[in-house]
């Protein structure tokens, strides 16, 4: 995918402005005060230790799902199923959290996380195989598996993994499995650091290792570019890269779910809802399919999301408006012709060239 060119920044910025404008209209139209909303949005995202901590907490799974999605995209697979991986990863991490009673803290957390990642990866196996060996669109298969995941997990939480006959939830995880929460009244937990670490690791592996090179040599564009003749010609097995890429993505999705359960929720209940998988797709695109960009975009999105909760709490405006606005932003960013159209203006071209001179 294009690295950040000036054009993209301009379009994103313009998109933000227009989105804000639309937000203004929407909010006023439903009888609320836009500037009030804007204020609460800002406060909820950025003001005060608690809000900041919560924003970072919101960002945690987003970072992982964004990186997970971008890895799939970059190996050439259009994977929309990370949300599903998150669900199953969360469930099984939660299960491991109360099942193993004799482990020390560090070991227990590690085991839970690994199990979550394993299950998340396994969830991606079927779509990967279907695409590589039978040409079945991974777009549809991953989307459908999302729905299956939600129902499956809900069933398990209600059935085999149920804690006691009354409450539809799994038992609470043991203390030894917890990711510690640092601040007293925030769900921010050490999982955040894991997420950031993983993202940086992904950046490193993708861009600076031979393994990462082999993974993305056949793709690296937005539209699923698998299969690629370039890879085969170089002697790199693109089938293997595609499958491994999908598995890694699934593992990261599972990790996101595991951290949510181990760090914040601490048990799995039926109504638990994850949407970060889908948000991750949008963030990955906003971050231009680069892990570092995803970190930044996730922090931004997390803050906005938290701000949205605050707005929801303080006014009549429902928090979904945030997603509405973000998707409008995506409309802009994805409209390639707008970006290309900007090239006509010589000033833009000059600024573009200026910003793109860099070494590796």
């Amino acid at each position: 995918m294009e690295k950040f060119s000036f054009k993209d920044v301009l379009v994103t910025f313009a998109g933000l402005v227009i989105t804000a404008f639309i937000a203004w209209i929407l909010i006023s139209a439903t009888g609320n005060n836009p500037s009030e909303v804007a204020l609460y949005l800002y406060e909820g995202g950025f003001k005060g230790t608690r809000n900041i901590a919560n924003s970072l907490y919101q960002a945690t799974p987003l970072i992982l799902t964004a990186v997970a999605t971008l890895i799939s995209f970059r190996v050439g697979m259009f994977n929309i199923g990370i949300n599903g991986s998150m669900y199953v990863g969360a469930l099984y991490a939660g299960w491991a959290g109360y099942k193993f009673t004799t482990l020390g803290h560090f070991t227990h957390v590690t085991v839970c996380i690994l199990i979550g990642m394993l299950v998340g990866a396994a969830w991606m196996l079927l779509p990967a195989l279907l695409r590589v060996y039978a040409g079945v669109s991974e777009i549809i298969s991953t989307i459908i598996l999302n729905f299956v995941a939600v129902l499956f997990v809900s069933y398990m939480a209600n059935g085999p993994f149920r804690a006691d006959p009354i409450a539809p939830a799994t038992p609470r995880i043991l203390e030894t499995a917890e990711l510690k929460q640092i601040f007293p009244n925030s769900q921010f937990n050490t999982g955040f650091f894991i997420a950031v670490f993983v993202a940086i690791l992904a950046h490193f592996v993708l861009n600076k290792t031979t393994f990462g090179y082999e993974l993305r040599s056949g793709g690296d564009g937005l539209v699923g570019m698998y299969p690629s003749r370039f890879s085969s010609y170089l002697g790199i097995p693109s089938d293997r890269s595609a499958i491994i890429g999908m598995l890694i993505s699934g593992a990261l999705g599972g990790l996101a779910g595991a951290i949510e359960v181990l760090g914040a929720v601490r048990y799995f209940f039926q109504e638990l809802e994850f949407n970060q998988g889908f948000d991750g797709i949008l963030i990955g695109i906003l971050g231009k399919l680069e892990p570092i960009g995803s970190i930044i975009a996730s922090l931004f999105y997390g803050a906005i999301k938290n701000g949205g909760f605050y707005v929801d709490y303080k006014t009549d405006v429902s928090r979904e408006i945030i997603i509405v606005l973000i998707s409008i932003l995506i409309f802009f960013v994805s409209a390639q012709k707008i970006v290309k159209g900007l090239e006509k203006y010589p000033l833009i071209k000059k600024l573009d060239k200026f910003f793109s001179r860099k070494k590796i």
């Binding site: 090179y213 040599s217 370039f230 010609y233 793109s356």
Partner: protein, 505 residues
């Protein structure tokens, strides 16, 4: 010109940036004749026909159809004037039958406003019969042989009331038997009053079927003759020209031991037809072996078989004593065989990646570019920048995405990568296609240098000039076989033309 002239393209000139495709071309076709338009790739025949069919507009000149000046700026206009064209690549809908394809867009309707399939089917069968061939109205194109598909295309033009049919390299995709069938159809068409223009490079066929022939070379008309008054040799010499355009400074080759020995190789193409039919060749260290021939005679498949991109059906490829037929590309690269592919944008490069990411494609896993799987970015930058300099890749920096480069520069990236790892054997397929003159020379020099340093080069190119100037010995490939081996210094171009046209001694 009398009304007997179906087509008169008068003084046509057409330029594209950097190349004059047609220069003062005067092309006349009489009513009811079979007229062959002959020339090598790039001679200008396709452009001329595109102008006639309304796909392109001439910069200068005019078009007369049946004696009247016409302005053809849309394909629709050409069709309305009775001109029909069968392209080299068929435009058929695979799951449709012949009548469905033929009637597409203009299907006849019955009284309730629905399509009258029965009527259409009958109409198509009738038209076919009138011109001497049968059509199966229930057969889907995807299940039909190439010959049938082609006849459907011809029927399409007839359904639209074409009186002038242009067939672009029609026999390129046909077996000899299908070719005979096609010729029968053409003769019947002409008997029924149609005029046929037949674009080809196969001179044997020209003599067999055409009444008159126009030869083009380098955008100009070289000659117009009646086939009964000319010969293949004469046409060949007109086609290929007598001047030597290209000269590459090189010393005499000093070939050493043999490193590649291909024995009786048979290879199928993507459609399952035989493309390489028993090719044998050998290459020694210190020499450049060239494969000449018009594209589509099996060269691509030969190269793919040699580089592990296509399975061989029969025969062996012995490289330094080992049979590498049906080996993987990875293996072949490990043996220090480099491949400059004919498709640079999809195969030779990943245009979404940067220059350096493309340059290290065959060396990223080795020290010093990477140690234990981790890139040493500094060394990579050094290596890439040196390649950029050595091979004169014009770009502001090596982080630029390859898709922003010009065709010539893109090719230089490919060449730089392939030649930089000291290959023992380099297989270069159409290495200077789409590359400007200055860079063509550079690439040729690099290939010669490879040779002088003891390497071996197999150069496959449809550009006769290139092969004759660069290679030390040349095999001419025609319809899957090497029909003749020549010493470029001892054969003249018109003789080459004959070989390329399929004439063996």
């Amino acid at each position: 010109m009398s009304k007997n002239t179906a087509i008169h393209l008068k003084n046509i000139t057409k330029e594209y940036p950097g190349v004059v495709a047609n220069k003062n071309v005067d092309f006349q076709v009489n009513k009811g004749e079979i007229h062959a338009l002959v020339g090598e790739n790039g001679a200008g025949k396709s452009t001329l026909m595109k102008i006639l069919y309304g796909i392109e507009q001439p910069d200068e000149g005019e078009i007369l159809i049946n004696g009247e000046v016409q302005v053809i700026n849309k394909v629709e206009t050409a069709i309305n004037l009775g001109i029909g064209m069968v392209h080299q690549e068929f435009t058929l809908v695979p799951s449709f039958t012949a009548p469905e394809n033929i009637g597409l867009g203009q299907e006849p309707k019955n009284s309730q406003g629905l399509i009258d399939w029965k009527g259409l089917n009958k109409l198509v069968v009738d038209i076919a019969e009138k011109y001497g061939f049968k059509v199966d109205p229930g057969l889907k194109m995807i299940d039909a042989s190439v010959g049938v598909q082609q006849r459907t295309e011809i029927l399409k033009t007839l359904y639209r009331n074409a009186n002038i049919l242009i067939l672009d390299e029609p026999t390129a995709v046909l077996t000899p038997q299908e070719t005979d069938e096609l010729f029968t159809v053409i003769r019947t068409l002409v008997d029924e009053g149609k005029t046929v223009v037949f674009i080809t490079h196969k001179l044997r066929e020209v003599m067999e079927i055409a009444d008159r022939v126009t030869v083009m070379r380098a955008g100009e008309v070289q000659g117009v003759s009646e086939t009964k008054n000319t010969s293949i040799a004469e046409l060949a010499s007109q086609m290929v020209g007598r001047e030597v355009f290209l000269q590459v400074k090189k010393d005499k080759a000093k070939p050493e031991e043999e490193i590649l020995n291909v024995e009786d190789l048979w290879v199928h193409d993507a459609r399952g037809l035989l493309a390489v039919k028993g090719v044998s060749l050998n290459i020694r260290k210190g020499e450049i072996v060239g494969i000449a021939g018009v594209e589509g005679n099996g060269q691509s498949e030969l190269v793919e078989a040699l580089t592990g991109l296509r399975k061989t059906s029969q025969g062996s490829i012995n490289y330094l004593g080992e049979n590498i037929a049906s080996s993987t590309p990875k293996n072949i690269r490990r043996k220090k065989i480099a491949h400059i592919p004919e498709d640079r944008t999809n195969t030779g490069l990943n245009t979404q990646l940067s220059i350096w990411e493309n340059l290290i494609g065959n060396s990223y896993f080795r020290k010093p570019l990477s140690t234990k799987g981790i890139f040493n970015l500094k060394k990579i930058a050094q290596h890439s920048n040196k390649l950029k300099e050595d091979f004169d890749i014009r770009a502001p920096n090596i982080s630029l995405k390859v898709k922003s480069l010009s065709g010539g520069n893109q090719q230089k990236v490919v060449v730089a990568r392939e030649l930089s790892e000291d290959p023992v054997l380099t297989i270069a397929s159409q290495p200077t296609r789409g590359v400007d003159i200055g860079n063509i020379e550079a690439i040729h020099e690099q290939l010669v240098q490879m040779r002088d340093e003891g390497g071996a080069v197999l150069l496959v190119s449809a550009e006769l000039d290139e092969v004759m100037a660069v290679a030390d010995r040349v095999g001419v490939m025609y319809e899957g076989q090497i029909v003749k081996w020549v010493n470029p210094k001892e054969v003249d171009q018109s003789q080459m033309g004959l070989y390329m046209a399929g004439v063996k001694d």
